[in-house]
Structure formats: C-alpha cells, structure tokens
C-alpha cells in the first residue's frame, strides 16, 4: 500500500513540478501583458521617493589636540537624538569637497578701534586660504541696522581691500540679523558636495537685531555651516559678547579665537580643519522631534575628541532636513 502511495506521489510531483516552475513566469508575463496598452503612458511616469540622509562634518583630535590621521569608521559612533548610530552610508575626508565661505565683518561702533586690524586679518586669511577653482567666497559687513554685501561668490578675484575700507561704519551691532542672512545665503546655494563655512569677526555684542540668538542659531544649524568666531574686541578689553561667540562657534562645530592671536593662529585653525574634516552620512533616525541633537563619541579609545555641530532640524512635512523658508 505504502509502495503504491509512494509511486503515486512521485508521479504527481513529477507532473506538478513543471507547473509550479512555470507559474511565476506566466504571472510575470500576465502582469506585463496587462500593462502593454499603457506602455507609452507609463514611460512618462516619474516615481518619487524621499530618501532622508543626515550629513555631518566633524573633526577628530587626540588627547594632545592633534588631528587624528588614520581615523576609521568603526572608531566612532554618532548619537543622534539619543540613538547610537554605528552603521554609516558613507565616511570620507572632506578636503576634496568645494567650499562656500562667507566672511562676516562687524563694522559697528564698538569695534571701530580694531577695524583696521580686522580688515588686515580678513585680507590675510582670504589670500592664504588654499582655494580651489569651484570655491565660493562672499564678504558681508554689518553695522547700524543693516547687513551690507561687500562682494558675493567671487571675492577672491575682486579688489576686496578697497571695498572693505569703504563699507559703512559705526552705529549699532545687528549681529544676529547678519548671521541669519549669512545662513540663509548658504542655504539658498546649498549643494551636497559643498562645505559651508562662516568666518565671523565681531565682539559678539548684539545691540539691535530683530532676530534673537535662538533664531540665528537655528538658521546656522539649518545651513550646516561651521562657524569660526574671531573675537574682535580690543586687547585687555574682554567683551561681554565673547561668551556668545564661543557658544555660536561650539554649537556649529566651529572654533573660537581672539583677533589678538593674529592672522596666523586663525589661519592655522581654519586650515587644520579644512585638511582634517571628515564627512559621515547615515539614514535619518525615526524621531518625533524636529530638532535632532548630534554628538560623536569614540567606540574604543576614550581619549579621542570629536567636534561637530550640536544638531539639525528635520521638517517632517517637507521631508527635508532644511528649513522651508527661503532667504
């Protein structure tokens, strides 16, 4: 009996097996067959899918504050909105990316005694930075109630010294307004392979801005720019705004320096960062909050220090990590 059943099953399976094999192919053909009349319509269809990716520029230093050369992607983890992220989409050095630099020069009353020194450092910095052909450089000044455009995009080729000397001077200090304008310009020109940088020369004492510190900081974070704050208050006169400058620089992942340290120190800081910056990208983690705090921490060597921006904003509705409004 069992032999008979075995023979029957064997025959049945031999009969059915080709049928099972053919079915998916037929189904595939049927599906395509159905779509044939609409082929021309479908060829015009565009499929959209939002791919949300976070991109962080960061700097790694050892216990002696020296840049870490051979950093690997398993040497660090990103803490994004409390979640620990160890698997990244990409990890590269950023010295091959283009730069979009905005130099913001405070020309208000409070820094007038140092304005000449400020201009000298700005010019030295511009002439010494290792520019590449696709890099952008814009210079803005701020004083009174306004931010003034000194030159945009191609300041390296312009005769910027004369232009800087003739900017409006004196009056109040609209620092936060100027920061917001600079950040909006960077957002407007944003490209994935461009690294936005703001170099700010000011004493940090805002006296008249329409925008509050928080609003300006939000825009800077949204622009993904690293901000290098150079305290332009006079020697021996520590300004009340130093703390503000420190905070803006730290939150953006940039650095703070005093103008008295000279152009070489400031230049060295910026150049070091340009050469040592890394870019890591990863999938946007799920979160209910619009603001994602970010921090980079070591996975093995606790002596490593990492510097990056404090966080970023993600707008669920637009599916974008960028602000919805334009400049």
């Amino acid at each position: 009996m069992s032999k008979f059943l075995g023979t029957m099953l064997s025959r049945l399976s031999r009969l059915l097996l080709p049928l099972f094999l053919v079915t998916p192919i037929c189904a595939h053909n049927l599906l395509y067959g159905q779509s044939t009349p609409r082929e021309s319509e479908e060829s015009n269809l565009t499929y959209h899918r939002t791919v949300s990716e976070v991109r962080l520029v960061f700097f790694a230093t050892d216990e002696r504050n020296h840049s870490v050369e051979g950093l690997q992607k398993d040497d660090f983890a990103v803490v994004d909105d409390e979640l620990v992220i160890r698997h990244f989409r990409s990890f590269t050095r950023s010295d091959l990316t283009k730069l979009d630099v905005i130099v913001l020069v405070d020309s208000s009353e409070s820094v007038l005694p140092q304005f000449e020194q400020e201009t000298t450092v700005v010019l030295q910095l511009i002439s010494q930075l290792p520019w590449n052909p696709g890099d952008y450089l814009s210079v803005l000044s701020f004083s009174g109630m306004e931010t003034h455009l000194v030159c945009a995009g191609n300041c390296r080729s312009s005769f910027i010294g004369d232009r800087l000397a003739s900017v409006p001077k004196g009056g109040a200090t609209p620092l936060f307004d100027a920061l917001e304008i600079a950040a909006k310009l960077l957002i407007q020109r944003r490209q994935p392979d461009v690294w936005p940088v703001i170099i700010l020369f000011s004493d940090g004492d805002d006296t008249i801005s329409k925008v509050a510190f928080k609003g300006a900081m939000e825009k800077i974070l949204a622009s993904e720019a690293q901000l290098y704050a150079i305290d332009a208050s006079g020697p021996g006169q520590p300004s009340n705004g130093s703390e503000t400058l420190h905070r803006i620089a730290d939150d953006s992942g940039g650095r703070f320096a005093g103008i008295s340290e000279g152009a070489n120190t400031i230049f060295k800081d910026v150049i070091d960062d340009l050469h040592s910056a890394r870019v890591v990208t990863y999938r946007l983690p799920k979160s209910n909050s619009e603001f994602h705090s970010t921090r980079i921490l070591p996975t093995h060597n606790l002596k490593l220090q990492f510097r990056c921006r404090r966080g970023y904003y993600y707008h669920h509705r637009s599916g974008s990590a960028y602000p919805e409004d334009g400049p």
């Binding site: 803490v79 799920k286 209910n288 070591p298 996975t299 093995h300 606790l302």
Partner: protein
C-alpha cells in the same frame, strides 16, 4: 627586588586576569545615550524604584541604555565625563548594585549606577509600540 615586582604584578593583575578567565563579563550593546540628571551617590537602583532622582548640580551625567541578552539596563555615569566606549559590543558585570563596564583601551573598569532594569522582551515590546507611534505620526504629517 624581582620577586617583589612579581608579587606586585600578581597582586594587581590577578583579579582582572581571573575575571577574564572565569568569564563573568556579560556582553551588551549601548543603543541610546543622552545627558541627564546625575543620581545621588549610594541610592542608584533603589532610588529608581522610589522617588524621582535628585539632581546633583548643574553638570549633567551621561545616561545609557545597555541591551544584553535578556535584560536591558538604564545606567547613569557618576560624573559628566563618565563615558562608555560606544563599540558594537561591550563587556560588563554587576557589582554591588552597580554596573562595571570594561573600558578596553584604558584597561580598567568604569562603574555606573543602575537606574532601571527591564526584561528585554518587555523593552522590545515598548520600543515596537513607540516605533509604530512615530511611523503613524510621520504618515499623518505626510498626508497633511
């Protein structure tokens, strides 16, 4: 002199060597981290089941969620710079109401206060629920 040196070496090195040999370390992965309130010394786990934790001062302390095979621990550093290396897998052991984490490169253990302990299956259930809520809220936002 040599003998004394050897004795000192054995005295210092033997406990950690034995620990490693016996294999009392458990393995786990840190999945979350944030800076929160510090926990008053000597309370830790007991305090977590009682009244809310006391803030120790303006400096925040790091709080980690450490997932092991069967239990999920929420642990708090004793100082703002009590950091755990965020490697894929870390070694830890329970010691007198505290959790000692082996810091590979530093060749020592860092001790953390246990704030919460949850059975892993329960923690995963809560996490799934949270994920669903986030997804639902994202879908709702996308529809608007």
């Amino acid at each position: 002199m040599k003998r004394a040196g050897l004795l000192i070496f054995l005295w210092c090195g033997l406990p950690s060597l034995l620990t490693a040999q016996i294999g009392i370390y458990q393995h786990g992965t840190v999945v979350r981290m944030h800076m929160g309130d510090c926990i008053a010394a000597g309370h830790g786990f007991m305090m977590a089941f009682g009244s809310p934790s006391n803030a120790m001062g303006p400096e925040p302390c790091p709080e980690y969620t450490l997932v092991s095979d069967s239990v999920v621990y929420v642990i708090v550093g004793k100082m703002s710079n009590s950091l755990i290396p965020l490697a894929e897998t870390i070694d830890f052991r329970l010691q007198k109401n505290e959790l000692a984490v082996r810091v590979d490169d530093a060749k020592h253990e860092a001790k953390f206060t246990i704030k919460e302990m949850i059975v892993r299956s329960e923690w995963e259930r809560v996490r799934r629920h949270m994920d669903e809520k986030v997804r639902a809220s994202e879908d709702h936002e996308a529809e608007r």
